[in-house]
């Protein structure tokens, strides 16, 4: 592989761009969530800071940065400081393998709108999302607080359970695309989106990613009605902010993956690919917010029952059926 300085610059530019866009988007997603929830509840939502409250994320940022950085007595110092990073960083790293637009040509170089087109991109995603579990586990464990500990135990069980159905629901996608490479998967959908072939896998994946990003109705690890704030009860200031932003980055990344695996990635008629991709991601984000405004939280036993006795078997059956179908079709 040649290390052309222009290539390196371009990769650096792409990373910077992705970082900037994702972080800004995450911040505004918080804002959007507050607005949409307010509308759902016949309220107005934040509208004081800047025009239509648009500077609210900035105000929140300043507030979080200036809050006291607090560590409970008896907390494990290093793990306590490590956990928020462990929650946010893997989420953002997943984006490295997501293709967010058709290749461009800049100064004669063909530029993939993807940071790294790994041949095992899908596996990298599964691996990184497993690492994100550590954020929850360590945060709860290191806090030396019963609420945090309970929240993180719940979180661990939930994330591990739903990762299984999430992974299994992606197997048919790989079978159809015959590749782990995400750009190949997108390319395989240039004709027909996989959601048409795999509606069941799509639904399982959707439910699983809702559980993966600990959103209502799967917010048991936080469950403010029961556990104060669950695994991040003891965090304050920007460390809490990292957990918080991590959750929204997760929404963006998982929305992007859902679009990539089932909705044809950046494919779409008339509009430029990047717009198509962003639109799909935002649609998923809206869906999550809408769900939050509607559904109540599951009970823990319902959650486990649903994950292990319904989603996982369904995903397995789906793989079997897809396999038969592929074999029969030749």
């Amino acid at each position: 592989m040649s290390y052309d300085p222009i290539d390196i610059t371009l990769i650096g530019a792409k990373i910077a761009l992705v970082f900037f866009v994702i972080l800004t988007l995450a911040a505004y997603l918080v804002f959007a969530e507050r607005k949409v929830l307010a509308w759902i509840q016949d309220r107005k939502g934040p509208n004081r800071v800047g025009p239509f409250g648009l500077l609210q994320p900035l105000a929140d940022l300043i507030k979080l940065l200036t809050k006291e950085d607090f560590r409970p007595i008896g907390a494990d110092k290093w793990l306590f400081y490590l956990a928020p990073a462990m929650a946010a960083i893997p989420a953002i790293m997943i984006f490295a393998v997501i293709p967010f637009g058709a290749p461009l040509t800049v100064f004669g170089h063909s530029v993939e709108l993807q940071i790294s087109d790994l041949n095992v991109g899908l596996l990298l995603f599964l691996a990184l999302s497993s690492i994100a579990v550590y954020g929850v586990a360590l945060g709860g464990w290191a806090s030396n607080s019963k609420y945090a500990l309970l929240g993180s135990i719940r979180g661990l069980a939930q994330l591990i359970s739903y990762e299984l159905s999430m992974g299994l629901s992606l197997v048919p996608v790989v079978m159809l695309a015959r590749s782990f490479r995400l750009s190949d998967i997108v390319a395989a959908q240039s004709g027909c989106w996989f959601i048409v072939y795999q509606p069941l896998a799509f639904i399982i994946f959707l439910i699983s990613i809702a559980a993966e990003c600990k959103r209502i109705p799967f917010d048991l690890p936080e469950a403010e009605g029961e556990l104060v704030a669950g695994f991040h009860t003891e965090y304050s200031g920007m460390r809490f902010g990292l957990f918080f932003v991590g959750e929204y980055i997760n929404i963006i990344v998982l929305g992007g993956l859902a679009a990539t695996f089932f909705l044809g990635g950046w494919h779409g008629p008339w509009l430029p690919p990047v717009i198509w991709f962003s639109g799909k991601v935002l649609a998923f984000a809206f869906l999550f917010i809408w769900m939050r405004g509607t559904l109540p939280r599951l009970r823990y036993d319902q959650l486990m029952h649903f994950g292990w006795k319904i989603l996982t078997p369904l995903a397995l059956v789906n793989i079997l059926v897809t396999g038969w179908w592929l074999v029969l079709r030749g």
């Binding site: 949409v36 307010a38 509308w39 759902i40 509840q41 016949d42 309220r43 107005k44 809408w290 769900m291 405004g293 509607t294 559904l295």
Partner: protein, 176 residues
């Protein structure tokens, strides 16, 4: 089938919240727009005076007993002509929950609630209202009531001259 009814339930919920997104918000933009509360609104508490201008409160401590958060305290004392009154009377509005139980308990209609709800302040000590802050010059509601006219003790009128009272008994009288 159960799964269908479950799905319908989910979808109905989603549909209802979807519709609400387009409703007009009920929020009032508070400092710019203000609601005019009804006269019976329960906010800042005052101590009223009787029609003759005397303090109505007799420091009976029923309000402080009724108060669920114990935010009223006072010291009764004996004033001119045997009148019982509050030497000091304190309401800690930082604690008050504006439940109105004090006003309900008050036998002299002294303590009353007003619609003035804008008493926020940055120094919590400013929320401790003393008698001089609470006592107003008017009668508030039930303007014609004067407890001492009905109490049977001689404060505003000689004994036996109050409403529903007979003149005092002559104990040395020999009539049966």
């Amino acid at each position: 089938m159960k799964i269908f009814s479950d799905m319908t339930a989910l979808m109905t919920g989603m549909w209802i919240t979807w519709k609400h997104i387009f409703r007009r918000p009920v929020t009032i933009q508070y400092p710019e727009q203000r609601r005019q509360p009804y006269p019976r609104y329960r906010a800042r508490i005052v101590l009223t005076r009787d029609p003759e201008g005397g303090e109505r409160c007799v420091a009976c401590q029923l309000c402080s007993a009724a108060c669920p958060v114990d935010c009223i305290s006072m010291q009764p004392a004996e004033g001119d002509g045997g009148r019982r009154y509050a030497e000091w009377f304190r309401i800690n509005f930082a604690r008050c929950i504006f439940c109105g139980l004090c006003a309900e308990a008050c036998p002299t209609l002294a303590i009353q609630m007003t619609p003035d709800y804008e008493i926020c302040t940055r120094d919590i000590m400013n929320l401790i209202y003393e008698k001089e802050d609470l006592l107003i010059d008017g009668c508030g509601k039930s303007a014609d009531y004067n407890f001492y006219r009905h109490a049977g003790i001689a404060v505003t009128q000689p004994r036996g001259n109050g409403a529903e009272e007979l003149p005092p008994v002559d104990v040395r009288g020999l009539m049966p």
